[in-house]
Every structure is written in structure tokens, then in C-alpha cells.
Symmetry: C2
Subunit: 178 residues, 2 copies
Amino acid sequence: MSLPHAILTALLEKPSSGLELTRRFDRSFGFFWSATHQQIYRELGKLEQSGAIRALPSEAPARGQKKEYEVLPAGRAELAAWAAAGQDPRPMRDPLLLRMRAAAVVGTDGLTAELRRHLDLHERQLEMYEGIERRDFPPERDSEQDRLRHLVLRGGIELETFWIRWLTQALDTVDGEE
Amino acid sequence: MSLPHAILTALLEKPSSGLELTRRFDRSFGFFWSATHQQIYRELGKLEQSGAIRALPSEAPARGQKKEYEVLPAGRAELAAWAAAGQDPRPMRDPLLLRMRAAAVVGTDGLTAELRRHLDLHERQLEMYEGIERRDFPPERDSEQDRLRHLVLRGGIELETFWIRWLTQALDTVDGEE
DNA sequence: CGCCTTTATGCAACTTGTTGCACAAGAGCG
DNA sequence: CGCTCTTGTGCAACAAGTTGCATAAAGGCG
């Protein structure tokens, strides 16, 4: 049940239309939560029905016309309750680690190229995050919000760093076999 | 489409019944892929129907009786093809990072306890992994299979280490606000 | 025997996430 | 005007994962 809360958070930071939200989820928001535009539209409909958000008044509320949403007090309260509630960490489910374990039984043919490709993807991702860190979190900005958001971004950066280190080890190990 | 392949990998390592598989997925297999017993039984049925695995003959093939499965050549081939194929890393989706971002907007009330609880869970998990590392991967064991499986376990260990480090930072940041 | 617990298999309903496509309006262009 | 491209909203079908419950046999116990 996290997607509605992700949308509420995004809308509290800045009221947006469905497509704008989609773009934000593809960019910086995607560090910690991804979503497709279909998911977003479906959820916006539900949130509007339940009274958590509302569409800002517009002259032309027709199909194909931009529709901006803002969060209502009920939505804000719901988000605050959710953020403070207890939730266990999700059990791990990583296809790449699984494939490595499978390779231990069926052989490592064709794996090197795939590992290199992933390494490259993670290196680009890391560069992007570091660019954002330089742009959005210079040392002089230090409000409460900035510190918390910076912390989240640091999570993304350190996770990418982990993958890069692991993939490098993996390439050493797999190449060593051949 | 990873669950069937996770099951094939587990069965290749050691033929098992549904409940045995469930236990393995709760223990060491869970480092990189989790599954409930309902998922597993459903998938075992599908895999048997498609000819990837078969039930080992038993005297009493009745409900409530243990039913062991083994992988057939078709299943092994399918797994090898899947392991070597290209698959993009999944987009991130972490509820805790999301909650931290939400907390930046709605406030950090009640968050400290939750962060401490997660820190504790990750510390236990790390200890468990390190125990397994000492037991199953002593320096003298160094076959190809061992190196690859050890690599996967190292992934689990380093991920837990990452979370512990991040949660410690997070606690510093959140406590600093109060 | 009758009752309870453990081991084991399994169905059904629901929620969440993905994929593919349809529809609508405006802008640029010959 | 008619054509195509971009922006924007949305439905429908499917796949994957979760939750709750049902069923059955075997072993221990009074």
C-alpha cells in the first residue's frame, strides 16, 4: 500500500497533473519509488474518490486536458499516520543474485556480458545521483527538509555504490573461472 | 518471471517437497529470493504440467503426503537460458526511503522508534549471514560452485551492512532535529 | 477412543504491478 | 484544410504476489 502514499508525498511537495507526476517518478522520485503512468492515473482516481486529494478547478475539464491535483487535509493526515506506523522491511527479491546462484548450478555461459552491462547501468545511475547531489544539496542548504531529503538521496548513492562494488567482485570471480 | 527459476535452482541443488522448499526459501534461499508456501505449491503445479519437473514416485501419492520433485532436462535447459538472457535491473521501490521522504513533508513524529527497530532487524540478519559464512564457506572450500554461492552471500552481507550504516546516519539526522 | 498439535498440500479471493492500446486536443506544416 | 507529431488522460487484460482459509494424515496424550 505504498503507491498512494508516494503520490501524496509528491503532491505535497508540489501539486501536479498525472503526466507531471509520471515525469517526476521517472526522475528524482524514482530513486526510492517507481511507477508507470497507468498506475498513477488509476491511483489518482481512487485518491480523489476517497477525498484525500482534489482536482484544481479548471476552465476546460475535458479528456486530453491537463488536470492538476492538490492534497486535502484528510490526505495529509493519512500520509502522516502511514509514515509513522510500523512496517517490516520487505523480504529481498533480487533477480541478479538469483541468476548468479542459478549460474552456480547450470554454468556461467554468457554471464560476463550481462554483468558488465549492469555495471555500466549502475555507474551511469550513480553519476546522475551525484550530479543531483551537487546541484540540489550544496553545503549551505541545511534546513530540516533538506537534511532528510539529502539522506534519502545518500541512500540511493550508497546503494549504487554497493552494486558497483559487488558487480566488480562478481566479474573477477566469473572471469577467474574461464 | 523469476519464481519458477528460483524453484528450479533450489530443486537442482537438492530435490525437495513443497514444504521443504518453503523452509529453504525462509532460510538461506531467502537472501536473494523470498516466496510463500502458496506461491511455491502453485508454481510446482505449473512446472510439473509444463514438463520442467516431475514428482518422484511414492507409495502413497495422496493429499497430506509428502511429494518430492526433481528437475527434468527441459527444466534445466530453461533455467540455463533464463540465467544467460538479458534482464534490466528492476526499478527501486523501497518503502522506508519513501517514508523518510514523506517525513520531510509531514514531520518525523514517531520515526525514531521505527528506525531503531529496523536497525535491530538488520543487525540480526547480518549476524545470521555471517554465521552462515563461517559455517559454509571456510577458506579451504574453493570450488567453482562455492565461489559463486559465496559471492551471492557476500551480496546479502554487504546489503545488510549498507542498511545498518544508512539507518545509523538516519537516526543521527532525525534525532538532531528534535 | 476422542482430542489436540504438527506436518503437509492446496484453493479462492484479493491487491499490486505491467503491457498494450485507445482517445482527445493542440501545434506545425504544406 | 488535411496530415503528423506531441502532450495528456485513460481503459482492459494480464501477471505476480498476498492473505485467509480448507483439507488430510500422523503422532502424542488422557
